[in-house]
């Protein structure tokens, strides 16, 4: 049987992925300060993004994502393994993105990806120390979006 501490850790770790998705989908970039450690390493290169430390990634997100008229990050299949004050995990994300087209209009592409994560328990709660994207499927990607690594 899982202990109350194990159950609590599980729910807090799962919430972290949901808080991440909600912060990004609502454009609340400062909320991400509660999600990552200051020096967390983030790698979005699998889907055409950048990699780097959290402050650089936060800045990048706030510049790049507003170019998309609509998007969401539906997370699920959250699997975590806790070892004391650290944890590792894997989260699936289905990510529809409404993408502006060069000739006008927009097209919704559907991306599937996993996040491969490392967590640490800090005095303020659990935080990501690492989040690396792994690509899954890509559907209805506009022809001009060649930046998406296949």
């Amino acid at each position: 049987m899982l202990s109350l501490q194990e159950l609590s850790d599980r729910l807090e770790l799962e919430q972290l992925s949901v808080t991440y998705a909600n912060a990004i989908d609502s454009g609340d970039w400062d909320e991400l300060d509660q999600v990552f450690t200051k020096d967390a390493y983030i790698d979005y290169r699998a889907l055409g993004g950048i990699d780097g430390r959290y402050p650089q990634i936060k800045q990048w997100l706030s510049e790049v994502l507003p170019k998309f008229p609509g998007y969401c990050h539906l997370v699920g299949n959250i699997a975590v393994t806790v070892k004391g004050d650290t944890a590792t995990g894997r989260t699936l994300c289905i990510n529809p993105m409404n993408t502006p087209l060069p000739q006008g209009g927009a097209q919704v592409m559907f991306l599937g990806l996993w996040y491969v994560d490392k967590y640490v328990h800090t005095a303020a709660g659990w935080r990501f120390t690492e989040r690396v994207e792994q690509p899954c499927f890509q559907h209805n990607v506009p022809a001009h979006m060649t930046m998406l690594a296949k």
Partner: protein
């Protein structure tokens, strides 16, 4: 809910997620810790086979090997506990990248439910039965004609 009930629900949910991760990461050996050796599995609703776990375990790697990418996003997990037995029902959204005979690939979107029966063993909860129920099929390539139409409900 008691701590025992909370624990059971989380452990069963973990197993349902681990099944999805086992397929998606092609770690089929993880399935040995999900199903009982004599479990019954039925994938016929999405064009697969049915049979004992041993048969399914052998069938899965080649059957899914043709697909470069796929994921099984599970949700709406409902668990009914009855002591050392349980029933679960799970919705799964399953995009699959399918190579086309003429080259290139196409992503089809399947959705199905899993109707599961589970038992508590000394090691952990295990599935004794998993039956797919068909829901939607979208953008299925023409050459995949073996897939039956979604079950009328």
């Amino acid at each position: 809910m008691s701590l025992q009930q909370l624990s059971d629900r989380i452990q069963i949910r973990d197993m349902i997620v681990r099944y999805a991760n086992a397929l998606d990461a092609r770690r089929f050996e993880w399935l040995d810790e999900i199903f009982t050796p004599d479990a019954y599995i039925d994938y016929r609703a999405t064009g697969g086979i049915d049979g004992s776990y041993a048969k399914i375990r052998e069938w899965l790697p080649p059957a899914t090997g043709a697909f470069p990418h796929m994921c099984h996003l599970v949700g709406n997990i409902t668990v009914k506990l009855q002591g050392d037995r349980a029933q679960a029902r799970t919705l799964c959204l399953n995009p699959v990248e399918v190579p086309l005979p003429a080259g290139g690939a196409q992503v089809m979107f399947l959705a199905m439910w899993y109707a599961d029966e589970l038992t508590r063993t000394p090691a952990s909860w295990r599935m004794t039965r998993r039956v797919q129920e068909g829901c939607i099929q979208h953008n299925v390539p023409a050459h995949l004609t073996q897939m039956p139409a979604a079950v009328a409900r």
